[in-house]
């Protein structure tokens, strides 16, 4: 390009694009980047107004060093996704100041595109995706500005054209998005740090789960292909806690066994798919007993699902669950030992009570039922704010305070069962969820976090039992918020907003609709990876034949381009150039009589020469040429009729001459 300066509208659009590119990144950029950005933006404007000069070389070097040091300090190093993105944004900001030539502008634009792509790694919601169209539009407009011939154009035509280009690109993009083969990661890359994710953890003290339960943040959604099971049956297992040290419950050995124990499917299975929010933990959520056809995770020794990598981005998986399955009918020694483990001492009252229960009840099942009856009849209170208990937390809870949360009930029951010689463990996960009837799916939030108990009976295997149900059945049947109506003040903002919406009918409908849209986005766009793609293609085409598929995609792209070309070129609107056609016929007619136009000979010169050679026809020839010239060059309106008439006269006379010369 001969012009090296950057046109004004390019500069305008680049500055706009910079704002739009950086905005979504602000959440994870260090604050000093904003200061750098403002300073550089002001400088650039001053350069444009000729009030400042370009930064000198030493200052650029210094700025790079300072940025490097800043990134190092803010992110504890220069490696990692966050540090990389900060460096990218800093380069994007600094390059804009020192940009002089069009080539520099191209570099800035490309950096901008890449920065937009990296923003998806942090935030990939529907709104973020739609918003990112704006910086892309501005960057394209800047690219168009670079190509324009005038340095001072108006900025709007460029952005209109950019919008047109984007719209025309959408159909091709959809074809590519659906059919482009998805492969797994080629190599592992640093992941975005999952910021402030709340959720279940490896080990929990009673207070942790109560705190978790105060958040309205989404944990996962599950959509069922058949009818939605009743709420009370939705026990989403995440982990089991087998080890108790007197204060905390933690994962035991069988939750690290990489092999599923024996289990027999029974009853009707449930088919559903789960879209999980990033949790930063490697386990997945499912109803008992899950099978994953996609093989995303391993069913572990305690029937929980574990993946090799933590879930750092939204994850979608399909599950088939057998709720009535018989699990581990024969208990290996090691598992039995773990299921009976108790600290050597502590909680003497509970141990004594367990011994008494064991003595008075003939079977383990009877002990369990007695315990449940106790929870149901004794004055227990379900609360998120349990009062502090002493050193022996089980004794304190069972016999003194009798106020607690699900983990208290589950922990206490497991303790007593174990003391009575019944293998048992605490299961944590989520219970229930918000049913969205319209979409046939369940949204499960952090406040649905729950803990329950499973115990082992010879012949029946592991059996689930929920002591909380005995104390506060509304927790299971309706939800936590209904279970503790007077403790609303404890919930965090997201949970409170949720509660407020619930009270206003139409607003709640709106919220549910929005949730549905988001869920669709997650399922169909974000979750559209390998298996989903295969499933979709199989549904559409029956089978997946890669060769046919590839040919089909190429064909679809070609047809798309052809349709677009037709729309763009509108060949049916092509005006025929009647004047030129007429002139060509005129030349042909004269050529038949030996008068050929010389290269470079204009119409008038040619006409005059022809008139000399054919003096009898001179008048007709010159009349045509005059008409042609007048229409063609003198800006007279095209009048094809008059031109045709003149041409016909020439041809007629030439024919007559030909006939006469033959007659001679």
């Amino acid at each position: 390009m001969s012009l090296l300066t950057i046109p004004r509208e390019t500069l305008v659009w680049l500055m706009v694009a910079q704002v739009l590119v950086i905005l979504p990144h602000l959440a994870h950029l260090p604050l000093w980047i904003v200061a750098l950005w403002l300073g550089c933006g002001l400088w650039r404007v001053r350069i444009y107004r000729m009030q400042a000069s370009y930064p000198p070389g030493w200052l650029k070097g210094l700025a790079m060093l300072v940025v490097g040091a800043g990134v190092y300090l803010s992110h504890d190093g220069l490696v990692g996704l966050d540090a990389g993105v900060t460096l990218l944004i800093a380069a994007f900001i600094l390059k804009l100041v020192e940009m002089r030539s069009r080539r520099d502008a191209v570099v800035v634009i490309f950096l901008g595109f890449f920065a937009v792509a990296t923003s998806y790694l942090f935030e990939d919601g529907l709104l973020a995706g739609l918003f990112s169209l704006l910086p892309i539009l501005a960057l394209l407009a800047a690219m168009i500005g670079l190509q324009q011939s005038r340095l001072f154009g108006r900025p709007w035509p460029a952005v209109r054209l950019a919008g047109g280009l984007l719209l025309q690109a959408v159909p091709l993009m959809l074809v590519l998005f659906v059919f482009f083969p998805r492969v797994g990661p080629l190599w592992s890359l640093p992941q975005a740090q999952t910021r402030g994710t709340t959720g279940l953890a490896e080990e929990m003290a009673p207070g942790d789960i109560a705190e978790l339960s105060q958040s309205g943040e989404l944990a996962f959604r599950a959509s069922f292909s058949g009818e939605l099971p009743p709420r009370a049956a939705l026990y989403w297992r995440a982990l089991t806690f087998e080890q108790f040290d007197g204060r905390r419950w933690a994962r035991g050995p069988s939750s690290h066994v990489m092999r599923a124990p024996a289990w027999t499917p029974q009853g009707a299975p449930l088919d559903y798919s789960v879209v999980m929010q990033p949790s930063g933990q490697p386990w997945l959520f499912a109803l008992d007993v899950p099978e994953l056809p996609g093989g995303e995770a391993q069913l572990m020794g305690d029937f929980h699902l574990q993946r090799s990598r933590p879930v750092e981005a939204a994850l979608m998986y399909r599950v088939r669950s057998w709720p009535a399955a018989v699990r581990q009918p024969r208990l290996p020694q090691s598992v039995a030992r773990a299921g009976l483990q108790l600290p050597a001492q502590g909680n003497p009252r509970s141990r004594a009570w367990a011994a008494e229960l064991k003595a008075t009840h003939p079977t383990p099942q009877a002990v369990v039922e007695a315990l449940l009856r106790h929870f149901n009849q004794a004055p227990y209170v379900y609360t998120l704010k349990p009062p502090p208990v002493g050193e022996d937390i089980v004794d304190g809870f069972l016999f003194d305070t009798r106020r607690g949360f699900c983990i208290h009930y589950a922990g206490a029951m497991t303790f007593v069962l174990r003391a009575a010689g019944i293998p048992s463990r605490v299961v944590v996960g989520y219970q229930g969820g918000e049913l969205n009837e319209a979409g046939n799916y369940v949204s499960v939030r952090q406040l649905d976090a729950h803990a329950w108990v499973e115990y082992w009976l010879a012949g029946r295997g592991w059996v689930r039992v929920d002591p909380t149900f005995q104390v506060a059945p509304e927790r299971i049947e309706q939800g936590l918020v209904e279970a503790v109506p007077e403790e609303r003040a404890l919930f965090d903002d997201s949970a409170i907003a949720l509660l407020r919406y619930r009270d206003i009918g139409w607003l709640n409908d709106l919220r549910l609709k929005w949730e549905g849209i988001n869920y669709g986005w997650q399922r169909w766009v974000l979750g559209y990876q390998g298996d989903e793609q295969l499933a979709l293609i199989q549904r559409w085409f029956g089978s997946v034949d890669y060769r046919a598929l590839g040919a089909g995609v190429v064909g679809a792209l070609a047809i798309g381009m052809a349709v677009l070309a037709l729309v763009l070129f509108k060949p049916w609107r092509n005006v025929r150039d009647r004047q030129r056609e007429g002139y060509a016929r005129f030349e042909q007619a004269l050529a038949r009589h030996g008068v050929r136009r010389q290269p470079g000979e204009g119409p008038r010169a040619f006409g005059e020469r022809a008139a000399q050679r054919l003096p009898e026809r001179a008048e007709a020839i010159l009349a045509f040429v005059r008409q042609y010239e007048a229409q063609r060059y003198a800006g007279q309106t095209a009048d094809s009729v008059a031109l045709d008439r003149a041409l016909r006269r020439v041809c007629r006379q030439l024919r007559w001459r030909a006939a006469r010369s033959r007659g001679e």
Partner: protein, 320 residues
């Protein structure tokens, strides 16, 4: 000229024949990615890698969106040239060593054509916009070196609009031909070449005060150089010095009478023709095998200069 470019030119001559007016169509437009277009693909590749490694659907979508924009840009860039009519105009003759300024008219038959560049060298292209159903004229510069017909090579017309990712171009031969007269070289006009038996004229050159005949009233068309300013200042009105135009004593400018290198002789003759015309002298130009005149006036001068320009050249363009 290399063999390749000869082949290319022959191919182009068939594909886009020479014409005063050319409408760019699919036969004549070529399109390829620019360096920027290749760099853009590399950026898309990086975004695709990020999408694959992070399993990020939005990054995939963005990569595909920009890839589709890339494909759409092919059509837009191509369309920006398609249907454009280029037409060359008549260019005035120049003297060797001067710059000719042929102009080309770009005319749109339907849509606007933005940022169309025109030129002989890629480094020096002239950029302009053609409005919808309108036209613009671009003046080009062409350096002449030798006398004769100056016929530039094919003209490159290109466009990178809208995104600069592709360049669509065509090589058109708009039949631009500039007549280049010899460079006028001032020099001593040799007086009679005595002793050679050359009896054709009394003098080779004879513009001098000797022929001064008197003052006559100025008429439109008389050269201002011959105005008698002194008489004017004395209030005698506009008078011109009348030089002898005696029958038989016309100026004879003869190629054969001059010595030296033929090109130098032509240059000198060019100068003499101009001088004689300026002096409104009747003169005859004698070239080997051709005699022009005697005559005077602009038309005669033009014919003489043209003969000088084309002396020795094949007579292909005499008609033009």
């Amino acid at each position: 000229m290399s063999r390749f470019s000869r082949h290319r030119d022959r191919w182009l001559d068939k594909r886009i024949p020479r014409a005063k007016s050319v409408v760019l169509s699919q036969r004549s437009i070529f399109i390829l990615p620019t360096r920027m277009g290749v760099a853009f693909l590399i950026v898309l590749g990086l975004i695709l890698l990020a999408a694959i490694n992070y399993q990020n659907s939005l990054a995939y979508a963005m990569c595909f969106l920009l890839g589709s924009v890339y494909a759409v840009a092919i059509l837009h860039t191509w369309r920006n040239l398609a249907g454009l009519r280029l037409q060359s105009g008549r260019t005035h003759p120049i003297f060797a060593g001067e710059q000719a300024h042929p102009w080309v008219r770009l005319e749109s038959r339907s849509r606007a054509h933005q940022a169309v560049a025109l030129g002989w060298q890629r480094a020096a292209m002239t950029l302009d916009d053609v409005p919808a159903r309108g036209a613009c004229e671009i003046e080009l510069a062409l350096q002449s070196e030798r006398r004769g017909w100056l016929r530039p090579e094919r003209l490159r017309v290109e466009s990178r609009f809208p995104l600069g990712l592709f360049v669509a171009w065509s090589w058109v031969d708009l039949d631009i031909a500039v007549l280049v007269y010899p460079r006028p070289l001032e020099g001593e006009a040799p007086t009679v070449q005595g002793g050679e038996g050359d009896e054709e004229g009394a003098r080779v050159v004879g513009v001098g005060a000797d022929d001064y005949r008197g003052l006559v009233a100025w008429q439109r068309g008389d050269s201002l150089q011959r105005l008698h300013w002194k008489a004017y200042s004395r209030g005698r009105g506009l008078l011109v010095k009348d030089f002898a135009a005696l029958a038989g004593s016309d100026l004879l400018l003869s190629f054969d009478a001059l010595g030296g290198d033929p090109e130098a002789r032509l240059s000198l003759l060019c100068h003499l023709v101009l001088a004689a015309s300026d002096a409104q002298q009747r003169f005859t130009l004698q070239l080997p095998g051709r005699t022009l005149g005697p005559g005077e006036g602009a038309e005669h001068q033009e014919r003489c200069l043209q003969a000088l320009a084309l002396h020795g050249a094949p007579a292909e363009r005499a008609a033009a």
